[in-house]
C-alpha cells in the first residue's frame, strides 16, 4: 500500500471511467433524436417523453413495473437439449447463445413469472427481443407450455408479451414444431376457461405471429409495433411495389380487424387489470401502484 495505489490509481481510473459514463447515461430516441436521461427513460418505461416512441424493454424491467411492488416469482422452465442439430453458420449456435446470454444477463428469450397486478393474481410470459431477436426455439416453446400449465394449476389468467423475429432457424424443424406445441398450450388455457391476453410488442413476426400471438382472447398492441407474418422487405421483393405508410404497424392491424386495442405502455397495466377482472368476474381493481402483497404465513 502506498500513495500511488491508494490515491493516484483510483484517480486515474475514475478519470477514464468518467469519460465513458455519458454514453450510458443518455439514450438517443431513434425516432425523434431527443436525448433522454436514463433515469427519466426507465421511469417512463422506455417510452420517449418527447414523441412517445416505444423502445424495447426487457421482460424483467417490464415485470418489475407491472407487478405490485415490483415483486414476482419466476416460473421454472424445463431446459431443452442445447443445439440439437449441431447448427453452425458463420458462428456456432452455442456461441451465439452464450453471446446473447452475456449481453442480456438472461438464460433465454422468454421469462415466465407469477404474481399479482393490482391484487389480481396472474401468470405472465415476456419475450425478450434482445435475446437472439426473441426467436422461438425449444426453450421459448417450453416457457409457453410451462406458463400455460402454471396458469391452469393456479387457475389464473395468462398475459403474454410477444416480441420476436420469428422461429429460431438454428433449431431448424424443432423450432417450427413450437408452432403446434405452443398452440396446444393455448388450448390448455381455453379448456380451463382461463383468459389469455396477448400484448403484441415491437416487433412480432413470422412463426410467432402465426401461432400463440394470434390466438388470444384479447389482442392488445403497443403503438406502432410491427406485427406481421412476412416482413415488409420480403413483401416488397415479392410484389415489387412500395408498401403504404404504416403498413403492418399496430394501428394498421387495428384498422384491419386483427387487434382489439392499441394501448400506450403506461396505460397497459390498468387496461390489463380492468379487462382481466371483468373476464374473471371480480370487482373493479384499486387503481395506482400497490405495494407487494404480504406473504401469508405458511399454514402449519
Amino acid at each position: 500500500m502506498n500513495w500511488i495505489s491508494n490515491y493516484v490509481r483510483p484517480k486515474i481510473n475514475s478519470l477514464f471511467s468518467r469519460r465513458e459514463v455519458p454514453e450510458n447515461l443518455w439514450t438517443k430516441c431513434p425516432e425523434c433524436g431527443t436525448m433522454l436521461f436514463h433515469r427519466e427513460l426507465s421511469d417512463n418505461l422506455n417510452v420517449c417523453s418527447n414523441c412517445d416512441h416505444h423502445m424495447a424493454i426487457s421482460p424483467r424491467d417490464r415485470f418489475t413495473a407491472l407487478f405490485d411492488g415490483g415483486i414476482f416469482t419466476e416460473v421454472k422452465v424445463p431446459e431443452p437439449v442445447v443445439d440439437p442439430l449441431q447448427f453452425r453458420d458463420q458462428k456456432k449456435y452455442p456461441d451465439r447463445l452464450k453471446g446473447a446470454q452475456k449481453a442480456t444477463g438472461e438464460k433465454e428469450a422468454m421469462l415466465v413469472a407469477e404474481g399479482e397486478i393490482a391484487r389480481t393474481p396472474v401468470v405472465c410470459a415476456g419475450q425478450d427481443f434482445a435475446f437472439m431477436a426473441g426467436s422461438m426455439g425449444m426453450y421459448v416453446g417450453n416457457a409457453i407450455v410451462a406458463a400455460a400449465q402454471r396458469a391452469v394449476e393456479l387457475k389464473r389468467p395468462l398475459i403474454l408479451f410477444s416480441a420476436a423475429g420469428g422461429a429460431r432457424m438454428q433449431e431448424g424443424i424443432l423450432s417450427l414444431m413450437q408452432m403446434p406445441r405452443t398452440t396446444v398450450a393455448v388450448q390448455m388455457l381455453k379448456e380451463a376457461n382461463l383468459p389469455y391476453i396477448v400484448v403484441l410488442t415491437h416487433p412480432t413476426t413470422g412463426g410467432v405471429t402465426a401461432s400463440y400471438a394470434m390466438l388470444g382472447d384479447v389482442h392488445i398492441a403497443e403503438p406502432n409495433a410491427l406485427i406481421c407474418f412476412a416482413g415488409p422487405r420480403v413483401i416488397e421483393q415479392t410484389i415489387r411495389e412500395k408498401l403504404p405508410e404504416g403498413f403492418q404497424r399496430a394501428e394498421y392491424l387495428l384498422d384491419h380487424g386483427m387487434l382489439d386495442r392499441v394501448t400506450h405502455r403506461k396505460e397497459m397495466k390498468d387496461e390489463l387489470v380492468t379487462i382481466l377482472r371483468m373476464l374473471t368476474n371480480q370487482p373493479p381493481a384499486v387503481k395506482g401502484d400497490l405495494p407487494a402483497p404480504v406473504e401469508e404465513a405458511p399454514a402449519s
Binding site: 424445463p78 431443452p80 437439449v81 442445447v82 440439437p84 442439430l85 447448427f87 453452425r88 453458420d89 458463420q90 425449444m138 416453446g141 407450455v145 422461429a167 432457424m169 438454428q170 433449431e171 431448424g172 424443424i173 424443432l174 423450432s175 417450427l176 414444431m177 408452432m179 403446434p180 406445441r181 398452440t183 396446444v184 393455448v186 388450448q187 413470422g206 412463426g207 405471429t209 402465426a210 401461432s211 400463440y212 400471438a213 394470434m214 390466438l215 406485427i227 406481421c228 407474418f229 412476412a230 420480403v234 413483401i235 415479392t238 410484389i239 411495389e241 408498401l243 403498413f247 403492418q248 384491419h256 380487424g257 386483427m258
Partner: protein, 319 residues
C-alpha cells in the same frame, strides 16, 4: 424430361441413347439396340449412384422438381368421387389450396392439399402453391365439417410457404395459419399428413399438426428455405447448400429428430420419373396410417395428437 442441374451427366447419356434410337428408326438397316442398351445400363447405374446419397440441397431441388406429381395428381389417382368444395365464406376461394369430400378406399374422407400447378397458366392460377389466408380458412371450414361428420382428414403438403403479399397480410395471414394449426389439433377425427414435395414453414405446419406425418423419401420440410436461411445467417443467398445441410430438412433427418413418423420410398430417380408408382406408394402409406388410427375414440385422437407435439424435442434427441 426436365433434368436438374446435378443430373446433367445423366441427361447426356440418356440423350445419346435416345438419339441412337431415333437414328435407327429413320434408317431401318441400322442396328443400334446393343449400344443403346449399354447406354441405358450406364444411365441406370449413374442414376442409382446419384440418388444413393443425395445431399440436402439436391433433395430440395428434387422436392421442387416441376414434373413431380402434385396434389391434384394424387387426388385423381388415389381418391374417387372427389368433390371439390370452394371458398372461405368470407372473402374468396384460394386456388393454392385444393380441398373437398372424396372417398379413399371407398371410405368418405376430407382431403386438403397445396397445389402448385403444372404449367405457367395453372401455376399462376395456383399461385405456385403459396396459400393466402382464404386457403387456410377454407381448410379450417373443411376440417370443421370433417369433425362434425366423423370423416378422417387427409392432407397433402407441397408449398414453398404461405404467400408473402400485401392483401394476405391485411387479411390476417398469421391469424389464418395459427387457426388452421389449432383446428388440426382440436378435431376428433384422424388427421394424416403427407409431405409430397416442399414443406415450407408455417404454411406447411398449418396442415401438418397431424396424428401421423409421413414424408416422401426426397421431400423436404423446413422452418425456412435454404436460400432464405443463407441470406439471413450467411448474408449470402448463394450459401444455400450449406444452409440446407445445417437445417437438417430431409425426411431422413426429420425421422431421426422424431418429427415425422414414416418415410415413403420413391421410385429410383425420384417421384418425377414414375409419378404413378410414387402416388401408389403414398396411397399405401395413407391406408396403413388410417388403419393404425381406426377404432380410436375422438378424445383419444385429440389427446394423442397433442401429446405427440408436446413431447416433440423432449424425447429421442441425442444431446
Amino acid at each position: 424430361m426436365n433434368y436438374l442441374e446435378f443430373e446433367k451427366p445423366l441427361a447426356e447419356i440418356e440423350g445419346k441413347a435416345e438419339e441412337l434410337r431415333a437414328l435407327a428408326r429413320a434408317n431401318s438397316e441400322m442396328d443400334v439396340e446393343k449400344e443403346a442398351a449399354a447406354l441405358d445400363r450406364k444411365a441406370e447405374t449413374m442414376l442409382r449412384d446419384l440418388y444413393k446419397d443425395l445431399s440436402a440441397w439436391r433433395k430440395t431441388q428434387v422436392a421442387r422438381h416441376p414434373e413431380r406429381p402434385h396434389c391434384k395428381d394424387y387426388i385423381e389417382q388415389l381418391f374417387t368421387e372427389f368433390t371439390p368444395l370452394a371458398g372461405d365464406r368470407n372473402f374468396a376461394d384460394d386456388h393454392a389450396v385444393m380441398g373437398g369430400l372424396a372417398r379413399f378406399d371407398g371410405r368418405p374422407v376430407v382431403v386438403i392439399g397445396h397445389e402448385k400447378g403444372h404449367d405457367t397458366k395453372s401455376r399462376i392460377d395456383r399461385n405456385f402453391g403459396m396459400a393466402r389466408p382464404e386457403g387456410y380458412r377454407k381448410a379450417i371450414r373443411l376440417m370443421d365439417m370433417a369433425d362434425r361428420f366423423g370423416l378422417p382428414v387427409i392432407t397433402l403438403i407441397d408449398t414453398p410457404g404461405a404467400y408473402p403479399g400485401k392483401g394476405a397480410e391485411e387479411r390476417g395471414q398469421s391469424e389464418a395459419i395459427a387457426r388452421s394449426t389449432q383446428k388440426c389439433l382440436e378435431i376428433g377425427v384422424p388427421v394424416i399428413a403427407t409431405v409430397i414435395g416442399e414443406g415450407g414453414s408455417g404454411g406447411a405446419v398449418a396442415f401438418a399438426a397431424a396424428n401421423r406425418v409421413a414424408m416422401l423419401e426426397h421431400s423436404v420440410y423446413s422452418v425456412i428455405s435454404p436460400e432464405g436461411c443463407a441470406s439471413i445467417l450467411w448474408k449470402d443467398a448463394e450459401k444455400m447448400r450449406e444452409a440446407a445441410e445445417a437445417l437438417r430438412l430431409t425426411a431422413q433427418d426429420l425421422q431421426k429428430l422424431g418429427v415425422i413418423d414414416r418415410i415413403i420410398k420413391e421410385p429410383m430417380g425420384g417421384a418425377q420419373r414414375a409419378p404413378s408408382e410414387a402416388i401408389d406408394a403414398v396411397g399405401k402409406a395413407i391406408e396403413t396410417m388410417l388403419k393404425e388410427l381406426s377404432g380410436k375414440k375422438p378424445e383419444a385422437l385429440i389427446k394423442d395428437r397433442r401429446q405427440k407435439f408436446l413431447d416433440m424435442g423432449t424425447k429421442g434427441l441425442a444431446a
